[in-house]
């Protein structure tokens, strides 16, 4: 819900993009709404007399075009580009790696180098455990059709496209549970292709992974 309280370092950047664009869109929107509503409020037809038949205004037309251009070019270069670069950059040596596989209709979370693999079903949501303050690289694949890994609390999703390996980083900054859903329609049980992200302190994560998913979190 807006305003967001970011739960990953990536979400701080994503939230900043939302903020800049929301302010700009609200400002432009209010001005244009006022301009649309002014004529019907001010200049209703009261007589048969023709109004002045002006067919344009060079300064208004050119000025508004240049203003619109300045706004979108500014937003693109000063918000979209830097934010997109920051979010889509992946670190060379992440602290953890998780292989995420989407399939009809659940998720498999495998932690390479450990025996830990968590597989869900439409009836039982699998849990993706992430360490707080560490950068985890997600290697996302699909086993069948297009899916999409979406954690609304992280303001982020990435599609799982069959035949394509997608990598992205998540660096949680808050412990807690976050809802996860499949965002790309994938057939009959798409609705129930949910999961949960469980962010725990790094020490608890280390204990959990070395116990091979036997040690539960208190």
């Amino acid at each position: 819900m807006f305003p967001f309280s970011p739960a990953t370092t990536q979400a701080e950047t994503l939230g900043a993009d939302w903020f800049v664009f929301s302010v700009a869109a609200t400002a432009v929107g209010l001005v244009v709404i006022a301009l649309i509503l002014a004529p019907p409020l001010l200049w209703r037809r009261r007589s048969g007399a023709l109004p002045v038949q002006n067919a344009g205004h060079r300064v208004v037309e050119l000025g508004s075009t240049l203003t619109a251009t300045a706004i979108v070019v500014g937003l693109f270069f000063f918000a979209t580009l830097p934010h997109e670069r920051a979010v889509d950059a992946t670190v060379a040596s992440p602290d953890e790696v998780v292989n995420v596989t989407a399939f009809r209709w659940s998720w498999r979370f495998a932690y390479p180098g450990t025996p830990v693999t968590i597989v869900g079903t439409p009836m039982t949501e699998p849990e993706l455990v992430l360490p707080l303050g560490k950068t985890t690289e997600i290697d996302l694949r699909s086993a069948d059709v297009q899916h999409s890994f979406w954690v609304p609390g992280f303001l982020f999703k990435r599609d799982a496209v069959p035949g394509i390996l997608n990598r992205f980083d998540l660096t949680p900054t808050r412990v807690g549970d976050f809802e996860g859903v499949c965002a790309q329609f994938c057939g009959l049980d798409h609705t129930h292709m949910r999961f949960r992200v469980h962010v725990v302190p790094a020490e608890a994560f280390a204990r959990w992974i070395s116990s091979g998913n036997r040690k539960r979190f208190s």
């Binding site: 004529p39 023709l50 002045v52 508004s64 619109a68 979010v87 999703k157 394509i164 965002a183 057939g187």
Partner: protein, 525 residues
């Protein structure tokens, strides 16, 4: 048999109006089923498979069988009249197009009766989902075949319209004197010619994979899933503008007429239409921002640029109304509603053109809200503006203005009540195309508001149907020119005779009918 064999463009247009409205009714009922199912969390009114078919056919029918072809029908009626031509360039081809469209539409919907049910992979029919999971039921195949017919019909009509405009203009009707609606149709036809072949290819590929053992789109057998996404959206994004440019034309004509002023910035409006058409060919992959397989900055940048010509149009509409003599007819109310709704859809469009925002909004109800504000609050409101404006010309009698206003207000209020909350439910994590949702956060409240809004929209549509029946009984003659129109269609009888004009007024500007009424200020050469 005349209704079957006639090649008169006005008759063919009426076939488009009737058929698209029947399809609109079907799509609207499907929308109400969707909102009934989602009114509360955990409802089981529809089974998951039924729900998948309902939203697939809702989207398919609204886009392919209502919003786009209603614009085609309007162009069929208006373009020959507005340029002073007796008919379309190829009347028999025109008849072929309309019947191909009607039967294509019926085939798409009839698929729902096939064993195994109708198409259920969404209106975009992503492969390999539409190939492997949907199975071998005939419903998905009928969806493909029906849409192939609609696609080919649309391409043929685009050629027909272009040739008509280029070759059949009346003496004096130079290109720069054509009404804005006709200009928008020229830009639309060019987009159709560039974009629809890609749809035809995508659909044919699906059929080849499903029925002829092809492997174009299934990676498990060496195909490419992302290729389908590219082919589909290379059509799909220009299609968005195919569904809006004709309606920009409608709004421009309605606003100018009911402000009694010439169009503000005529040349700028025309150039903006072509700028949108050109740019629309280079933005398709903004539908693929979250795939990680496209150059996001490029497609984001080009998408932003489309905001500029769209902004120009708003300036021109406001400029046309500025210090005018405004008459708030039903058509004008719908035009004002169009501007307010489309403004919001346009602004959220700029937001989701920024990939960092799209990473949250994509495939969520935020995007559902966005495109309904452009296609529903935008195009559909313009459809009603067009109906109330041109109905007297098309059918020769008037619609009740009072019932018209009773149509506008429930539709405007209901529309915003339905779709404004969807921005928030999307941000709260509600994905598209789910048949239910958990009772967390504000989702139950937001969805209930959306469902209530849909019922209010429906009440407006019902009042419109009552209006049709009562007005058809009263049959108040329209007269040649009930509104003080500007363009040539208002300089002939209502409905126009076969071959349209007994005689043409002299054409010395882009509003010859206005000039004929006001010789004191008309250009003399």
């Amino acid at each position: 048999m005349n209704w079957l064999t006639s090649t008169d463009h006005k008759h063919i247009a009426r076939l488009y109006f009737l058929s698209t409205f029947v399809f609109f009714g079907v799509a609207g009922i499907l929308a109400m089923l969707i909102r009934a199912q989602l009114a509360q969390p955990g409802l089981t009114l529809l089974s998951p498979h039924a729900y998948d078919q309902v939203f697939t056919l809702h989207g398919t029918a609204m886009i392919f069988l209502f919003i786009a072809p209603f614009g085609i029908g309007l162009a069929n009626f208006l373009v020959p009249l507005q340029i002073g031509a007796p008919d379309m360039a190829f009347p028999r081809l025109n008849a072929t197009s309309v019947w191909m469209f009607i039967f294509g539409g019926i085939i798409v919907l009839a698929g729902a009766a096939a064993s195994g049910g109708g198409a259920s992979a969404g209106w975009s029919g992503y492969a390999p989902l539409s190939e492997i999971e949907i199975g071998t039921g005939a419903g998905q195949d009928l969806w493909i075949i029906g849409l192939l017919m609609v696609s080919v019909s649309t391409i043929l009509t685009a050629i027909n319209l272009l040739v008509t405009v280029l070759v059949y203009r009346a003496p004096g009707m130079t290109m720069w004197r054509m009404p804005i609606f006709t200009w928008e149709i020229v830009a639309t036809a060019l987009m159709i010619l560039m974009a629809f072949p890609s749809l035809t290819a995508a659909l044919a590929g699906l059929l080849i994979d499903r029925r002829l053992g092809g492997h174009l789109f299934d990676p498990s057998t060496g195909g490419s899933a992302i290729l389908y996404e590219h082919l589909f959206w290379f059509f799909g994004h220009p299609e968005v503008y195919v569904m809006i440019l004709p309606y920009f034309g409608v709004i421009t004509e309605v606003i100018a007429t009911f402000s009694r002023k010439p169009v503000f910035g005529y040349v700028g409006l025309v150039l903006a239409a072509f700028a949108i058409a050109g740019l629309s060919m280079g933005v398709w992959a903004h539908h693929l921002f979250t795939t990680g397989a496209v150059a996001n900055p490029f497609f984001s940048g080009v998408s932003f640029l489309i905001a500029i010509p769209t902004g120009i149009k708003f300036v021109n509409w406001i400029g046309t109304m500025w210090r005018g003599s405004l008459e708030l007819t039903t058509a004008m109310l719908f035009a004002l509603g169009f501007m307010l709704n489309f403004l919001l859809g346009g602004l959220t469009g700029i937001l989701i053109a920024s990939p960092p925002i799209d990473y949250q909004a994509h495939d969520s109800y935020f995007v559902v809200a966005h495109f309904h504000y452009t296609l529903g609050g935008g195009s559909m409101f313009a459809v009603f503006a067009a109906i109330f404006f041109w109905f007297p010309k098309v059918y020769g009698f008037r619609l009740s203005e009072r019932l018209g206003k009773w149509t506008f207000w429930p539709m405007f209020i209901g529309f915003n009540l339905t779709f404004l909350p969807m921005h928030l439910s999307g941000l709260e994590g509600m994905p598209r195309r789910v048949e239910t949702y958990p009772a967390i956060g504000h989702l139950p409240l937001l969805n209930l508001l959306s469902s209530l809004g849909t019922a209010i929209i429906a009440s407006g549509v019902v009042i419109f149907l009552v209006n049709l029946v009562l007005s058809a009984r009263a049959r108040v003659p329209a007269g040649d020119d009930p509104w003080g129109g500007f363009t040539l269609e208002w300089a002939t009888s209502s409905p126009p005779p076969e071959f349209n004009f007994k005689e043409l007024p002299s054409i010395r500007s882009e509003r010859p009918a206005f000039d004929a009424r006001h010789p004191e200020i008309a250009p003399t050469r």
